[in-house]
Symmetry: D2
Subunit: 333 residues, 4 copies
């Protein structure tokens, strides 16, 4: 058996096995962030870990920041984590084992000058007067798992919404020398603002640099599709990840997987191009791993695929294309 | 009490009452279509009914048409039904009481020259060679509620998908003198291709002409979000509607309601503009009927609203903006 | 020589000849419009003419209409003219021999609710407050060929702009049964709002119905690229056309030709799709008539082609793709 | 006279004066680039100059690069130049005094995987097969000022196009920590690919960092509107700039000025948003510097403004909005 075939067989085995567990007896790594960074880029790692490692951490916040007061600075993201053995053209696997809110409030800021899907902003310039600025502070009742806000100008006076915490930002360092601000999503992940990035979800990211250089942050206690106001219920959380590396498997765009679906996160502008990226990548996924002919995969995704509009406010918009796992045939590789 | 206030009170009462039922003892009207029409427009009605009437009918098909053979002509839509008492600026209410498939096959045709969300077509012109033409014929197992297709070029050789029948086209005659072909969705409804138009869903359409002039057709036994291949599992069905009119209530875009959500169907190009229409109309709905301040409604829809990309292939794309009914406060009117 | 080759040779000759002139001695036809129509559609012709005919007419206006007072109704377009011998898949040739303003004022109306490229409107819905309504009445100094307006709120108090009259609407009846309101451009021409449709320009339109059924109207004494405010200097004019038919030559989208350029008018939404239609049609024009290989035509148009954004306000946007005539090689057919 | 008024008067004087000339007797600075950079970012300057300085340089190229052979690496841009006294919220003025081609060939590369306005690419993903790869090598006849290429597959066999050299990339370091690859245009300028950046044009760029940090490169001997094939006639040139700083004047997007027009370069996706940025900025320019009321400026730009689609292939598209200088009233500041 030649080396290449052996390698392929080995990879196939790896892929068919359950996700790697930490070595028996190896305790989770605890990582306490002491600073946040404002961009996704190649920089000195704050933590080095091995594939299979479980890391318990939390998103970053500091006194007086965005979460605490109007006009407070954005605290930035945590990272990068260097995952040993991850090299370009591998796939980084990030399982969100646990995501738990750790504060009693969440904020949602609205303009002026803010980003919006349904009002003029700095990227969709309009001659109309801007919307007034508002800062909504939500109370998070973590026992009942609801967010509550007083709305004195509305007939109902208050409203209560069930929470569904998510991680807005999950990234690797982008390809080449580029360095994108924390608002950007792209093929490196980043600020996808997808409510599918929840506890229990596994996220797959392409690797562009040695060690992958993983970043995370931007918890939303709740966010609707499209994040039209430009922010979710922005807050902080404790989070536990397990990391893994799929050697030699290259993906072009972030993928996710939860109990129900396999998913691709396409990011771009215009919205239809984000949608196209996600759909075409999903079709190619069915071709590559599930043995579909391209036209058959196109047909099947068209009939049984689902989509979520994740964000329509960031420098790139993000759309999730999904296919139900129970409808998939067996993998061919 | 002045006349206007009386009128308002009366409307409010009407709106708060359960949807009108057919007069006791009045049997459903049976309507057997004998022809289809190719456009949504003002034309001579094929049926005249009163508000509250229940109509049992079916979508139209004729021997040798699109459903039966490659190259077969599109049979057209059924209608128009004239609903007595419906006048411009009223709202037509169409409850889909029953929607049952009535044939054992469904077809999905793919180019060349076909419409597509992920390939060049006549509206998104590209220099690339067109995709090859294909006609997928699905077997509908109505007992097990699945569609089955043989895929000899794929590793799995066949695939089976659970069905979820929907009505692609539900329309009133468009405003003014305009006459749109059957592929068009718009503020008059039309070819919205929304999988939310299912059995149990209530559809609200604006009325632009006396009698509303209602059309329906284009059953999909199943269709994924975006209908990326340009067609669902195209087939025919028996359908039972109940009609009603909300006098004096003007809506600008079609709305729907099912057990879980209130919804708006925004149609336009680009995709982001269809999304914007749906979101802004949903926000204004919360303002008008549920007493929200505009900025509060904007916030609340942003945090708890959901969206479905209905189609990204028709002359206008359609996006559904949804809000969960259980999160709504009481109506104020 | 077989019939097909003869036919081809004949067509080639026709195309290489100067545009047909009215038969010697045949006087121009004078047509005085007495009504306007609100849609582009198949309807009873108001005039029947032969290919080669010259028609002297004017755009329609009536007392108290849009041109005369705020809130005045749109007078509608003139037509249809039935051009004998024009059958589907022919090309209608319309030479604008003369276009002369015939009134001393022009108006440009701005919202609210108006269409705009840089403010929320009914198709690009925004939560922002609408712009205030304004009606600008320009004085047309036809001797000096300038439009003049008083601007009391601006430092300059008045401004004077050189005029460049154009015809906003030039159409044939659309394919099939569809009927589009006067605001629509499309593959049938219509409200392209291209400032290239000037005196001296030849316009080519596809023929979808017997007689072509030609419409015209909507004079702009001046209009900038994109018509961002939703209207040009809207006024009326005397216009002289010469009509011709190219038998057996099918074009998919309107074309124009002036002293400098050959042009294609692509209409659609989003803007990039209007641009794509125009560019791809222009490339295919170079392939079909000038003997370019497709990749060569793509290269050459990319390096020497020009574009004009005609309108970014109508139900479809219009983009002109142009290629300089002096850079073209000889025609191959 | 208070300090602020004095300051304003001083600025007004500066603005009304002819662009600063190098001090009498001060020779132009000659700068020979020895390396290129791949991103627009804050980095160590390669040259420090004073406002008013004239710099004679050339775009960078090295043996075996993109310009010389298929698959050759992109040589990168020249810079950054540090302009003394330029601080954030100033405006950098770059006058292109001279731009002369300095090699006898230019190349235009086409896919596969290449960027395109009219074919699927990595940002507008399509299921269609990609276009074939081609590398067009143009001969530049600098005496006759034409580019010539053999086209063996086309009827004409060769074509000759008049040249019009331009600089594709003119940038300052972007705001904050972001670092964009050389393909990006944005509010920092960058790869705008505007054929208006020619000899004689003055370019205005916002200043985000001390010294402005100016970059340039990417000469096109010729490029059509939209650069639809993804490249112009890519070559190198000698270039002479004169630099200046307008203290205390903040612009949000790049501006240009030539003998005929004032212009704004708006960059973004979708295309309509690039168009909107350019138009709204142009309107605000007329308001700020020429004393127009906003609605008046909107009207006047709509009637007499022109646009150029600069590129429809880069990560952001670029549109130029222009207003004829001869139609402008006097400046008010």
């Amino acid at each position: 058996m030649p080396a290449a075939a052996l390698l392929l067989a080995a990879f196939t085995l790896i892929l068919q096995q359950p996700r790697p567990q930490p070595a028996p007896g190896s305790a989770p790594i605890k990582f306490e962030p002491t600073a946040g960074v404002q961009t996704f880029a190649v920089r000195e790692p704050v933590l080095r870990i091995k594939p299979g490692a479980v890391v318990e951490s939390r998103t970053f916040s500091r006194a007086g920041d965005y979460y605490e007061r109007a006009g407070g600075a954005w605290p930035g993201e945590v990272g990068p984590f260097y995952i040993e053995g991850a090299t370009p053209n591998d796939t980084l696997v990030v399982k969100i084992l646990r995501l738990r809110l750790n504060r009693d409030t969440a904020v949602s800021s609205v303009g002026p000058g803010g980003i919006s899907a349904v009002a003029g902003d700095s990227r969709t310039r309009m001659l109309n007067d801007p919307l007034p600025a508002r800062r909504f502070v939500w109370q998070l009742d973590r026992t009942r798992n609801v967010g509550v806000i007083e709305l004195p100008s509305s007939a109902s006076k208050r409203i209560e919404l069930p929470l569904s915490p998510m991680l807005g930002r999950l990234a690797v360092a982008p390809a080449g020398e580029e360095e994108f601000g924390g608002l950007w999503p792209g093929n490196f992940g980043g600020n996808m603002d997808s409510s599918d990035a929840r506890e229990g979800t596994t996220v797959y990211l392409p690797v562009f640099h040695e060690g992958a250089l993983f970043y995370f942050g931007d918890v939303h206690a709740l966010q609707g599709d499209g994040e039209i106001v430009g922010s979710g219920l922005e807050t902080t959380a404790d989070v536990t990840f397990q990391f893994d590396v799929i050697k030699g498997r290259r993906i072009r765009w972030p993928r996710m997987e939860d109990a129900n679906d396999i998913m691709v996160a396409g990011s771009g502008r215009p919205l239809v191009d984000a949608f196209r990226i996600a759909q075409v990548e999903l079709i190619e996924w069915l071709v590559d791993e599930y043995g579909f002919d391209k036209m058959d995969a196109y047909q099947v995704v068209s009939q049984a695929g689902h989509s979520r509009i994740a964000n329509v406010v960031d420098p790139n918009y993000t759309v999730m294309a999904k296919f139900p796992k129970q409808l998939l045939p067996s993998k061919v590789k």
